[in-house]
Symmetry: C2
Subunit: 84 residues, 2 copies
């Protein structure tokens, strides 16, 4: 059994209106030191695989097919073996 | 200058309809091995601080006041010094 933690971020240069909104809200609370905010997704998947290579391959495939929009997003992930 | 990476997740036991939708979509694509999906937020903040302790304090404060709903969400974060 593996746990995959997937971090999906907007590519550099892609506008992030949600991040800008968060930055504006923080500024209005007095946090003027925050120069940039980027908002991404954090997905945690539990995979019933016993083989690490197979789990890794499947995570890449799922990202490419559904979880990530490769036009505007990048992703990284970590795989961790977990016991039930 | 510091970069804060904040991972916001739903607490254990809180229903995650977005995660369930993703799991359903993955299952319909043939990924039956995915037993659970939890969807969280991943925030990257650039902070114009020179002092690590101060930056850390501010991140905690911002999480408590705006970024995280402590009733249903947990968070962790990492601080990394970056050069301009």
């Amino acid at each position: 059994m593996f746990q995959a933690r997937i971090y999906v971020t907007l590519k550099q240069g892609i506008l992030d209106p949600q991040g800008n909104a968060v930055q504006g809200a923080l500024a209005s609370l007095g946090y003027q030191n925050v120069e940039e905010v980027r908002v991404g997704k954090y997905l945690v998947l539990s995979l019933a695989h016993s083989d690490r290579a197979e789990a890794e391959k499947e995570v890449r495939e799922m990202c490419a097919r559904l979880l990530v929009n490769p036009v505007i997003e990048d992703y990284t992930f970590e795989l961790q073996e977990v016991s039930l």
